[in-house]
Subunit: 334 residues, 2 copies
DNA sequence: TACAGTCGTCAAACCGGTTTGATTCACCGG
DNA sequence: CCGGTGAATCAAACCGGTTTGACGACTGTA
């Protein structure tokens, strides 16, 4: 590959002149600039990333720390990764995927060697060990999700508490008094993911506030057991007029179960859930739902870390994005 | 961060001695080695990746070129990405995700700037424009998937032709004479993905060879239409004794449809498909199936590109990995 | 007319590694 | 006792960028 020295020689100027022309940090005559441009085109010059990083201490690279959590619903995860990558690109960054089994080691590796300018943490748990590694690295970092002690790092997440409340209120306002809450498998709760708890608790709190009787059912982790759990919940609470579903698995099985039992939505049963339109590409889920809006959350997170790279002294921000509810007509007044 | 100069000073030696101790390229006395080790620990030294890349022209980074193809089934994609990343890590590489809308531009960007030592192309199409970019970059590259003209690059893929043949033979050997072949949505065929065609054609060829009557049905791209397409296929071919399913969407809907119609597998209908056990985490698909084995295919691909980075002159290889069939008892003799 | 300021450019130093050539010393074989 | 060999180390050059200080030529102003 051509170096800046080759370009300088071709254009008949010094290396520093080429550098200045490229960065615009010093005035360069129009004529010289043109000769340099021609040289760059002729030699197909592209700056060497390593050399640039060495000289500037900037890598134009973000580390994406993807935790090892097999239980998570995969399609959603991929969406997050893609949006991180696309947003980063818009802001001039590349993305280094860090999938080390031990996230802390991964963070240490890429920050200590100055491979990245900042890191993005996916699937943050309430007591996330990785946060300490980011602080130790003294590099910008942003959390996608909320940790219990996150005062030191920027973080963004959907306001899952608001999401839970709005689902409950949506049902309460329509006169529902007895609702089945199909929450995530217990395995998910053990993973200590903040949003899992925040949604769960806000639903329960708001139900109490609204005077709504809630039957809480944990969905099965194993898809083979899912249908049975779901059916059991319906059997156990025959007077429930609505379902509030967080578990995606349950949402997938629900149309089947309901059609088997000749239960019509919303005539016999109202359903409200929490899932994004990315499922529309794979499953036809015709339910009124709160959207997790990964494009908004993730894009904001990437912008935040990019801002902090530019200005490390900016005060820490912690954003909870208001969730959007899409009414697909799967609930009715009772 | 501490530099190699800091370590040298702390240990009372020259920078080159530290470098030699680290690389082992020159003999260093035991005593000096120990002092250097202590210095490294005390100062928490980690080599700067940019400087190392500049000096050695090696980045220890692989570019993962993920094409923009929204129609693809997302969970499968994520699995490929994760396996690339994990295998790369085992071989000492990091992974730079390149998701540019224009894959060629992405390849040019990361190779021209010497950001990566080699690239891995996911979802290769039969006439993949990205191949030209890899060749132009003169950097090692490996294709996951088969292109029509791939003589110049290493490539690995599942032997989808063999997969198709083995599914057909599995049914033919059990006496099935009339089979419904639920193939992928036409949209997938338009994407020009090699494996889509290879499987499709091998099934049709082998059916002809085996004297098996095949009804070919393209699954619907829109999940809302899927059930209808599936039902229509069953109605149109009432004498079919078996289903051969490539479309994952159809596989997901199949248990529902069959239970609605009180069709028992394998008593009333034999079913064989093509899907991996990653679906087991999300859906309970109890069908005999050929496994796409991404861990084998992808891991092999990453090894290939790593080998070529070490030895660029190694002859080009093109590997088709024999697929494995898992008998889950969803087929019977007729 | 002299002086200051700006424009345009270059040479040199620096970023943090690796690699090479030179040097010193100990040991070995003839 | 001498020449050769290998171990152990250092200084210097290099990789390809950026940044800084210096300098000559202009321009505008007092």
């Amino acid at each position: 590959m051509a170096t800046i020295g080759d370009v300088a020689k071709y254009a008949g100027v010094s290396r520093s002149t080429v550098s200045h022309a490229l960065s615009g940090k010093r005035p360069i005559s129009l004529e010289t600039r043109q000769r340099i441009s021609e040289a760059i085109v002729a030699l197909q010059y592209t700056a060497n990333a390593g050399a640039k990083a060495l000289a500037t201490s900037k890598t134009s690279t973000l580390g994406l720390i993807v935790p090892y959590t097999p239980a998570e619903f995969a399609p959603a995860r991929m969406q997050y990764v893609m949006i991180v990558s696309e947003t980063a690109r818009e802001l001039g960054f590349d993305v280094l995927m860090v999938t080390d089994f031990d996230g802390r080691a991964g963070i240490k590796r890429v920050t200590d060697s100055s491979r990245v300018d900042g890191v993005i943490l996916l699937n943050v748990t309430r007591h996330d060990e990785r946060i300490g590694s980011v602080l130790a690295a003294a590099k910008p970092g942003v959390l996608i999700g909320l940790a219990d002690d996150n005062a030191a790092l920027d973080s963004v997440d959907l306001d899952f508490a608001a999401a839970g409340r709005s689902m409950v209120r949506h049902l309460a306002e329509r006169g529902h008094r007895r609702v089945i809450f199909v929450t995530l498998p217990t395995e998910m709760f053990l993973q200590d993911l903040g949003y899992v708890w925040r949604l769960h608790e806000s639903v329960i709190d708001e139900a109490q506030t609204a005077g709504l009787a809630l039957t809480v059912v944990h969905d099965a982790a194993d898809p083979k057991d899912r249908m049975r759990v779901l059916a059991g919940a319906l059997d156990a609470t025959p007077d429930a007029t609505a379902l509030l579903v967080h578990s995606v698995g349950a949402l997938i099985d629900l149309p089947v179960l309901l059609s088997q039992r000749r239960i019509s939505v919303p005539r016999d049963l109202s359903v409200v859930g929490l899932f994004g339109d990315e499922f529309g590409a794979m499953f036809a889920l015709p339910y009124t739902a709160v959207e997790p809006s990964p494009e908004v959350v993730v894009s904001r997170a990437v912008h935040l870390v990019a801002e902090r790279i530019e200005d490390p002294s900016r005060p820490v921000v912690q954003e909870l994005l208001a969730p959007l509810m899409v009414d697909r007509g799967s609930t009715r007044e009772v």
